[in-house]
């Protein structure tokens, strides 16, 4: 009996030797080439041009040669912590397979942070590409999706992080930009894949671009969509990605949204419009809104606006046409007052509240009608709310919301309360030999 047990133990140990040494799928981490970004352009000799950006782990650890440090300069430089490979192929997956003929290591997509499509591709339709990519085992469903106003290949080359030696971390942090500034949204493979096949919503994608300025002397207002002085605010510099007046080594930037109808891109939203988009969808965390001072047209007031509660969307069908009510509930802190007015005082704060409400209401209405009349695409997902008016899927399908969106009327209500005056409770004027200024 004892002998049999010993034999059994030895057999088990022998078996475990094979079990613990790995199985068919075992592969050393060092044998893998990690793709951290994928760029997709229209192909030159084939269907698509795929750019794979590989992480160079050793270079990332040491900061590359000249990759890190510095900043503030004009000329872009090569990112030494990554290796870019561009290949023309009939499809993205074939391109990745073909790239395996070039790199010695096995290509792995499990650490891919962003997928960038060129605007040219996006306007022709990228729905099918994203749907297929989102079902890939290695790619994560929350991989960020960008549309770049330049070519995707050039965009990935332009990425030269200055404050981080780790490009993958740079992408990860960049994806969270919307949480800090709200001028772009969190757009992922999962969200695009769901919205592009929905009967009640349509997708948007973060807009990326390569900055056009080399030095600060080149700065100018983008002539196509910026205007100042039309009304009492100075937020009308509606920069989109690539237009921000700045000079820095890293030329890549994100701002605004690419608007889609189904799988095709049909327009763009500026950074400012994106902030209002986020207010309507309830995704805005906080943002600085700059208003012209109601009492002094030469000065401005900066309010730090936060979401107070989730926006309330109400839906009615009047004479077969949808009427959508949007109620935005915000609170704000005073960040800066350019003049010497005591907006910290409750009576004067209410003037500021009314002014800000009026401004936000006007901008949101303008955005809503732009999406319905100009774009004819429900990027806010109002349709999903309207679906609640129907009992069954068949009735909802028959209603055809996406076709009716262009006939929608909107009613916007903004409720903003200034909660805190910042660190001051009173504005004391600057005094000179000519007396007090601004009073």
């Amino acid at each position: 009996m004892k002998g049999r047990r010993v034999l059994g133990f030895l057999l088990l140990t022998f078996f475990l030797i094979f079990m613990l040494s790995g199985c068919y799928d075992s592969i050393e981490v060092d044998d893998l080439a990690y793709v951290i970004a994928i760029g997709v352009d229209k192909g030159t000799v084939d269907m698509v041009k795929v750019t794979l950006q590989f992480a160079l782990p050793l270079a990332m650890g040491t900061g590359g040669e000249g990759g890190g440090g510095g900043g503030g300069g004009g000329e872009s430089e090569e990112n030494k912590t990554v290796y870019n490979l561009t290949i023309d192929a009939p499809s993205i997956l074939t391109g990745i397979s073909m790239a395996n003929n070039i790199v010695s290591k096995q290509i792995n997509l499990s650490h891919t942070k962003i997928i960038v499509f060129s605007e040219e591709m996006a306007r022709e339709g990228i729905g099918n590409y994203i749907v297929r990519l989102s079902s890939m085992r290695q790619l994560r469903p929350n991989t960020a999706v960008y549309v770049t106003r330049s070519s995707a290949e050039e965009f990935l080359k332009a990425v030269t992080p200055q404050l981080s030696t780790n490009t993958a971390k740079y992408y990860e942090q960049g994806v969270l930009v919307h949480e800090r500034i709200g001028a772009t949204a969190n757009t992922q493979l999962h969200s695009f894949s769901a919205a592009s096949r929905s009967l009640g919503a349509q997708p948007v994608v973060t807009l990326a671009g390569i900055n056009r300025y080399e030095t600060s002397a080149d700065f100018k207002i983008p002539k196509d969509d910026a205007s100042m002085g039309e009304d009492n605010n100075i937020n009308h510099l509606e920069y989109k990605a690539g237009e921000i007046p700045r000079a820095a080594k890293n030329k890549a930037e994100v701002r605004g949204l690419a608007v889609f109808r189904g799988g095709k891109m049909i327009g763009e939203l500026s950074g400012l419009e994106t902030i209002f988009y986020m207010m309507v969808t309830g995704e805005l965390r906080y943002n600085n809104i700059t208003l012209q001072d109601p009492h002094d047209s030469n000065n401005y007031v900066v309010l730090n606006v936060k979401k107070s509660r989730n926006p309330v969307h109400s839906v009615e069908i009047v004479d077969g046409k949808p009427l959508i009510g949007v109620k935005i509930l915000l609170e704000a802190d005073i960040s800066a007052i350019g003049s010497e007015m005591d907006y910290q005082e409750p009576e004067k704060a209410s003037i500021l509240e009314k002014e800000c409400e009026k401004y936000i209401k006007r901008e949101i209405e303008s955005l809503l009608y732009k999406t319905s009349k100009e774009f004819n695409t429900d990027i806010f997902g109002f349709g999903n709310k309207i679906a609640g008016k129907f009992a069954t899927w068949e009735e909802w399908e028959k209603f055809g919301w996406l076709q009716k969106y262009k006939d929608t009327s909107f009613s916007v209500e903004v409720d903003l309360v200034i909660r805190r005056p910042g660190l001051t409770v009173k504005s004391i004027p600057i005094i000179s030999s000519e007396g007090a200024e601004g009073k």
């Binding site: 199985c23 068919y24 799928d25 085992r137 469903p141 894949s193 009640g200 009992a391």
Partner: protein, 370 residues
């Protein structure tokens, strides 16, 4: 043969929850959406109410048969032929379930983690565990189930809570999915979602009293209802219809979405653990019960010699479907057509015949232990 194995209500609960709930980790939430659209959770709710009613009827019918299992009752009601028929149906059902689930678990494991490994390699890993479990017997299986079920439930809760940022309550509209007709028409066939609940009527001798059986039955139905509803509801909240119909493994897809900060992500690695643990327990229990039933029907003194032949049988049957798609199709067809009957219809039928024939005798507990 004197039955000396006894276990408590907690162990019985854990065993049955694993047997019923394992399908959540396969394709259950998607299959339900295929039937009634985004109103899957309503269908589960309606079906659970039906299951409670049927179980109440069963408990009333069971009253004179305290401590007896279904096979003993069939024996009393219809003699050896009845015992053979009822036992044969249950053995075929258990072998079919074990084989199909073995193939599905193996194939799914291959898909999500072991892409390069041959399917036979994956199946052998599970079969080895099933053989070991059957060798050690029912008691170790239920004891391990009692330890692992809370871990599996905790893992499941982490997944459904981790995707809260992705919940979109508007996804539940239109509220009735494909309509009341679809829900009503499918509520009885979909009682199959509680398939293997009937194993409660095979382990009654181990939990001794009817009171225990009732308590275990109701609590298992309640816990299973919670698990089945939350899985369909959360899946519908995250994946809107009809995109929800695409995903091969719904709960795995949910786990892949979890991304709370830069630290708390890639939770699916935990999913693979709870998946493998749940799968092994489920397969071990069904495999053991098939062998146990066979030995009981044919009054075999020893059941261990049956383990290897049954393992070979299950392994070979599991490889019969040419592809995973065929396996899923086969399971869905059988499940829809027969499982509801086997889970609730068969026990009610056997108990009714037994009651009509009024062949209840004193000392039923002793008979069941024979």
């Amino acid at each position: 043969m004197k039955n000396e194995t006894v276990f408590g209500r907690w162990e019985a609960n854990c065993l049955l929850i694993i047997l019923i709930g394992a399908k959540i980790f396969l394709n259950f939430p998607r299959v339900i959406e295929e039937i009634v659209g985004n109103a899957g959770w309503i269908l589960v709710l309606v079906t659970t109410v039906l299951a409670f009613i049927l179980f109440y009827i069963i408990t009333r019918l069971y009253e004179p048969f305290e401590g007896m299992d279904l096979i003993d009752i069939a024996d009393r009601a219809m003699g050896s032929a009845g015992k053979l028929i009822v036992g044969g149906v249950l053995i075929a059902y258990l072998i079919f379930t074990a084989s199909i689930m073995l193939r599905e678990f193996g194939e799914d494991m291959k898909t999500i983690s072991f892409a390069m490994s041959p399917i036979s390699f994956m199946l052998i890993l599970f079969i080895a565990g099933m053989i070991a479990a059957a060798y050690f017997g029912l008691e170790p299986i239920v004891r391990i189930a009692a330890i692992l079920t809370p871990v599996i439930v905790a893992g499941y809760l982490i997944i459904i809570l981790g995707v809260i940022p992705y919940y979109r309550f508007n996804n539940l509209y239109p509220l009735l999915g494909h309509g009341v007709d679809a829900i009503a028409a499918n509520s009885i066939p979909q009682l199959s979602m509680f398939s293997l609940f009937e194993m409660l009527f095979l382990i009654t001798p181990y939990i001794k009293t009817n009171k225990n059986m009732k308590r275990v039955g109701y609590s298992v139905l309640g816990a299973s209802c919670f698990a089945l509803i939350t899985s369909t509801l959360v899946y519908a909240l995250v994946y809107p219809y009809p995109v929800a119909l695409e995903n091969f493994l719904p709960i795995y897809q949910l786990a892949r979405l979890i991304n709370i900060g830069r630290f708390f992500q890639r939770i699916e690695s935990m999913f693979v653990f709870i998946w493998a643990a749940g799968a092994l327990l489920h397969l071990s229990a069904t495999f053991y019960l098939a062998i146990h039933l066979f030995a009981k029907i044919f009054r075999l003194k020893y059941q261990k010699p049956l383990i290897i032949p049954f393992a070979i049988l299950v392994f070979n049957i599991s490889l019969l479907p040419p592809s995973l798609m065929e396996t899923i199709k086969l399971e869905t067809q059988f499940s829809k057509n027969y499982f509801a009957f086997i889970s609730f219809g068969l026990p009610i039928m056997v108990l009714l015949i037994a009651r009509i024939r009024k062949r209840t005798v004193k000392g039923a507990v002793e008979c069941s232990e024979r």
